[in-house]
Amino acid sequence: MATDSKLRVLDPTGQPTIVQQGMARRPDTLDGAVVGLLANHKLNSEPLLEAIYDVLSERFELGGRVAVNKGDASRPAAPEVLDGIAKEVDVIITANGD
């Protein structure tokens, strides 16, 4: 309520929902690692990931690749997409190729 002639007005902003996430364990080497390539559905996300994979291939003896496109750039990947690729790969790279 107002005190004297002053006005009390309210903050219209919302507080962000923050969830603490731990960092994934970093491997000592990519030699032998199966690499996941998670594209975000933007036009150049797959070419960008393929280019990154090619660079990594020159530096490490990779164990293979699994490419997935999450299919919608504006939403998080579906849990089943993440669960599926997590079972198949040792590391994963994601990219926004707009």
Binding site: M1, L7, V9, L10, D11, P12, T17, S74, R75
Partner: protein, 343 residues
């Protein structure tokens, strides 16, 4: 009156003008002056919903931002709403936070879409909403302030400000306010919300992730086919295979459909069939059909199906000006959503 248990920080100011300046300085507006949301006013707006201030009206699915009755009420006061608008605003919040609507994407995208609200049912006339002359223009308090309240909620509660999270390349004038009522009185057909599954006699809000509207004039013909033919070039400019698109037919056009005895569904059927061109023509126009041979001769429509066209009647009696409004990503990542108004 018992004081309402608000959780928002309260700020003491000398007067309304100081509040207006303070809110502008803090980036809490759309650039226009706001009505200072005093505790007393906000309490009236929450009471209009008959809920507690911490009642959740919607949760934005991607970021998890919670829109409480308190935050909705604060932003509604700021937008210039009246307390009796709150049920419409609550239904609109329910609709924009539906995961189908894709609120985060449409609000931040370079493609720059805005939220168009279409209000149907008795609540629209109860609130004195405009469905007639200059329906998309200024002058009606409910249309203007309900549309503005949704934008202020997106700015303040979701934190989606232009230049920060909102990266629209050229933006959209509907991001100030974009809210109409359907002109049910002049329509020969069932209202849009009934076509979309709501019960007859109910009130509802339909939210559209709308891109820039295209105004189509056709003053020279009075048969529905020729009127709709005038939309086809506009639809070719929008691109192939739209899952959702809105056509807003004005009363003068509608009268010709009524005279000819057209059913509502025929509008979508006609445009689905006739707004078609070959894959090669789409390619030449810079609107490629994904996954097809660019030289292909098969016909592809601007609409995925006849039902992809959502038909609404609105506007004033003079002039034969209607509109077609495409939607963000052509409905691939955000759909039109309708929710009931609970009074």
């Amino acid at each position: 009156m018992t004081e309402m248990p608000f959780t928002s920080d309260a700020i003491e100011v000398d007067d309304a003008l100081q509040a207006i300046e303070l809110y502008a300085e803090r980036g809490w507006t759309d650039g226009l002056p706001i009505v200072p949301p005093t505790e007393g006013l906000v309490a009236q707006f929450v009471e209009a919903l008959n809920v507690s201030p911490d009642a959740v009206l919607g949760v934005e699915p991607t970021k998890g931002a919670v829109i409480t009755a308190e935050k909705a009420a604060i932003n509604a006061v700021m937008a210039g709403c009246k307390p009796e608008y709150m049920p419409v605003l609550a239904a609109a919040i329910d609709a924009i936070t539906d995961s189908e609507f894709g609120l985060h994407g449409i609000s931040v995208s370079t493609m720059g879409s805005a939220v168009l609200l279409i209000v149907n049912g008795p609540i629209a006339s109860d609130l004195g909403m405009n469905s007639g002359v200059s329906v998309f223009g200024p002058g009606n308090r409910a249309n203007a302030s309900i549309g503005r309240a949704i934008r202020l909620i997106i700015i303040n509660v979701l934190g989606t400000r232009a230049g920060e999270l909102d990266k629209a390349t050229i933006g959209h004038p509907g991001k100030y306010a974009w809210c109409i009522a359907e002109n049910e009185e002049l329509s020969p057909w069932e209202p849009a919300h009934v076509t979309r599954g709501q019960s007859e006699g109910s009130s509802a809000v339909t939210v559209v992730p709308g891109l820039g509207p295209f105004q189509v004039g056709q003053h020279h013909d009075d048969n529905p086919e020729r009127i709709l033919d005038a939309f086809i070039d506009a639809m070719f400019a929008m691109g192939p295979l739209m899952k959702d698109a809105l056509i807003v037919l004005c009363p003068e056009h509608i009268e010709h459909f009524r005279t000819a005895g057209w059913a509502k569904a025929q509008v979508g059927q006609y445009l689905h069939e006739n707004a078609s061109r070959s894959v090669a023509e789409w390619e030449f126009a810079g609107r490629p059909v994904a996954g097809n041979d660019p030289d292909g001769t098969e016909l592809v429509s601007a609409l995925v199906s006849p039902e992809s066209l959502i038909t609404v009647v609105a506007g004033g009696g003079g002039g034969a000006w209607s509109q077609i409004i495409p939607t963000w990503t052509h409905g691939r990542a955000a759909r039109v959503v309708t929710k009931p108004v609970t009074v």
